[in-house]
Subunit: 245 residues, 6 copies
């Protein structure tokens, strides 16, 4: 009761925002998913290209990578366009490296053959949690791209291993909360992004103390919230993809 | 009858695609319009910032500028991300300069005061005509941003002069046609972009022979088509903005 | 009488500046032409290189491209050196794309074989009309480079199709005028660059309203002036090249 | 017994490498520390500059930031020089952001006054764990720079809050291990960097599954190892700084 | 007799090429000189701008700097355009630093007041010795720019100290020679650039062994040749400037 | 007696600083030397890579090149990190070109086979003379890398020709002095870097007048000092390498 009143949105500590996954959002990409976590909206386009990066050639395996961008006015105030500034910032590079690593955990690269799947995550509107939404939606787009390769008979086996999703957790005004929106994100004591597999494994845990160090007990409480939210996210992904549980 | 069969889409030579203008598409920008010309979809976000570029300071006037970008998989095959390549290409710079010049024709910069309005045109899905859609949708977003300044009492007069819209015309298989989609655009003998004011004036005429030079008579026929389409575009803009004619 | 007095230079509305085309201006380039339009001086060097860009390889055709630059003090006040700034500006890229497209209209690329001709247009002194002078002089340099390939027996057929030239026209103080110099260019209501073939076709028409929209009638008047000037330009090119009419 | 034999170095799972912290390693920097974690050697130079970044001006507080670099032949094979490539890679930016955030946890920025302390961490020789060594050594250099400000009477209070150190942990061949060297780092199933305060708080926890997801139990086992190593690191820092416990 | 036959051009070892200095070559720059050393042609434009670089502000002195560029086809084969590559090469930077240092020796910066004179040296045609021609011609352009400041009554005293000129010398096929052209430059055992003041002082001596080390005796012989050529160069500069000896 | 008192360090005019050459300073590079000239400390790492730059391929010879960098706080005040600025400055490029040319004089590239040796010279602490220390130490690292190739039986002959070393000389308060430290370097009338071979030849002579032109007599006096110091440097190199004289 008390804790609910502490979240600006009025949500319960363990309550995620409204989550949607819309497939086939644009028509050119082999996988195209609009993911929304409340007011955060990210377009995840998975593109298949024959061939792999130079350092992987001839190894008989594929590659999955990600790129991340934010439209200049996805945020409260306009941010400069990275293309105009002539380089991607450190935050952008850090996020796209995280998305790429996370999505590779969903795939058996050996079974992918010499194809590269690039998942572009472009933030249309930002309200906190853009990287976790990108991973969750990007995984669905990635699977659609894999299904495309299979339908086209370009690969034989099934490179898809298991679903991967992600959610943020944090300590906000002394309480562990899940799926932080922008007002929470900018005021939290600790912010943590968790990437999980449907099988219960952890892929990434990135916790950062913003205004105060966090304890082992707080870490545990946040991971509990992430696990619980993970079950919801996997259900959303399954439903969007029409997979049976 | 014959000519209609010549267009891959089955459209009449003087028939534009289905056009929509959706205001308030995202929630942070002072003006936010999703414009669609058939399968071409562009998000136009107009952002207001206090101050003007250095070379305009102290002149008591405002500035309107535009930036243009294409999501990597807006196109049939994935194009590289300009932010990752470290620079905007010549085509991008050329288009955003065109959009900026065109939109400035809609505004009395003196009455804008020392504010800068930046109109970001980001192509979500491309099927030909992204620059003309950007100008047509960007004008609506620009007017919303101006209305925001007025509602906030930040400016007194009305800097809005008149509506500006744009459409492409071309010579396709010997026939003048309007609002070319991608299959037409890539096969046309001549491609021309026309920017018009509601008052009947021309702001930009950019005609380019792609595979064959064009004659004065063909130029005239194409301009006739553009004028006719302009009337439709202005009606769409008026309707979206709730302006009486 | 009246109109003449309107031009700062005292020229008649349909009067071009003094035009010269000096071949073999430098000694290394396969084609080297200094073109002057009054005080505007551009050095056009055409360089032949074996091979074509990657995306054209194996198609049995050649390529013609252009690069444009301005010496830092070609202008009234010193402009920064683009090499020192680390990138070519949007205006530069836009102009060199225009020059390249225009010059390709003079050539049958199939007959050029797998050679690339790069036409470097470097402005030694600027007084308006640098892009139209570049196209007009660049075409002569290009033909010299083609003749070089033929003399060296590197190609068999003749890739030269027809002469291409360019001139600016505009609305200046309410009157259509041709070949604007800098004072006119910076004060014109409308500025238009026209690229023409000797056969009477139009290659590019780029009209831009600077301070006021222009009408169809003004567009026609300007095109009439461009056509008339085109005849002069083709005569200059023929004379410089020693071609019979 | 078994587990010890699993580590290429023969170390026990909970055994860190030989750690040294040499102050005053170079003579110009206000704080200069060479830190070694076994064969990993990082020079941490803390520089004091008056003033703060633009976005902090006038807020009456200071700033602590970090930059990270690797000498081209710090590694087994020569890596390209980032200055020659013209940009810092994503890994570099990610690491220096981590170091900066971690070191700021050691400081009360309000008490620092309008000074910026930049901690340059340059890897002389790499053998795994360069970011954790950088944080551990950088904290000592930072404190020396703060002491310099105090000795010079440039600030009055003491901005130093508490010691911060860092160590890597991981799952290697099924066993949790601490302070991974390069052979372990490149073969580990999971790699995790932990940044701690002397008071027992966690500043950063960054765990990444490399070849297999990790469980909550494994996460706990790794954090236990990090805590134990933290005690050693704080003792090293205290000893180097001549601080009583 | 023998030695003459050794130079590809047939020149005597101590014979410079035909040298010309044409003032007022372009009309916008405050000083504009075309300098030719045989087939090497460099346009030197000196531009006056009020103000000095940030690090000199408030010191009551002026600044002289130089920029150097080569038109892409100034050379036998086309070199890439530095603006297109996005950076100036090491050779360019090295040369323009040399030119700047050399020209500053001709000027009393204190008497220049807070003005910056930038001397742009752009190579129209290259045949060896472009940096020495740039210094020799740039000095004349610099003096014209100083005279402009005096005529405009912008400065009171005379910042011009003494003439500076430069010539290359080298060991070519065992013989010391002066003013090397391209065939000599690319085949010389040693190449040396000497910058001198009219008063007999040395400003720069940059000798480089290309294929064989050089001895003190050879160094002396080369410097003797440079001194002799210096007298000629100063006479050319005096004549061009209309200065009495 | 008088002159000695003139040097801030109290050294005699012909007295070099304490010089050390420490081999095997880091463990990955094929040659790794820490060179110190007094308080100037440079780490010279020579790396062997199979293959040569594109323009040398198939010519049956090797290549030696150098890169130079300065740690941000090697100097009295912190200099920006070149990797962060996105380019190497002109001074850096000029120095690394000098080091590369100098070291190539020590090697018979034909006998090196198709290997590239890159000598990275990174300044740990700067006190004047970083480029001369880099050449002197880099030569020792280069020889170690050559010996590595021989030990590994990757090449048959001995590409090492002769020792190369370098020292700075200058005119300081009217007296010729050798091996200038930073206070001398920043106050000298003339600064000259001399690169020599053990056989008595000159490889580079780069003299620059800083505040006053220098005479031929002064040039000679400076070269005499450089020759004398060269003998010491070669003795240091021989001793470090265990070579008999």
């Amino acid at each position: 009761m008390h804790s609910a009143s502490r979240r600006p949105s009025g949500r319960q500590p363990d309550q995620t925002r409204h989550i949607t996954l819309t497939r086939d959002y644009t028509r050119h990409a082999e996988g195209s998913v609009l993911v929304t976590f409340g007011d955060t909206k990210v377009l995840c386009n998975a593109s298949v290209e024959a061939g792999v990066p130079r350092w992987l050639r001839g190894k008989g395996q594929g590659w999955v990578t990600a790129e991340y961008g934010m439209l200049p006015r996805a945020t409260h105030t306009r941010g400069g366009r990275e293309a105009a500034r002539g380089k991607q910032g450190g935050r952008t590079l850090e996020i796209q490296r995280l998305i790429g690593r996370s999505l590779r955990a969903a795939v058996n690269l050996k079974k992918l053959g010499e194809y590269t799947i690039t998942v572009d995550c472009d933030v249309i509107q930002a309200d906190g949690g853009t990287r976790t939404a990108s991973i969750t939606g990007g995984c669905v787009a990635l699977i659609d791209a894999i299904r495309h390769l299979q339908r086209q008979k370009l690969i034989k086996g099934d490179p898809f291993k298991e679903l991967v999703s992600s959610v943020s957790v944090g300590m906000f005004r002394g309480t562990p909360v899940v799926d932080l929106d922008y007002p929470e994100d900018s005021g939290a004591e600790t912010d943590m992004n968790v990437v999980m597999t449907e099988g219960g494994g952890l892929i990434e845990v990135q916790g950062t103390a913003e205004t105060a160090a966090f304890s082992r007990a707080e870490l545990d409480a946040m991971l509990d919230l992430a696990e619980k939210a993970g079950a919801e996210l996997f259900a959303h992904q399954r439903e969007a993809l029409g997979l049976r549980e």
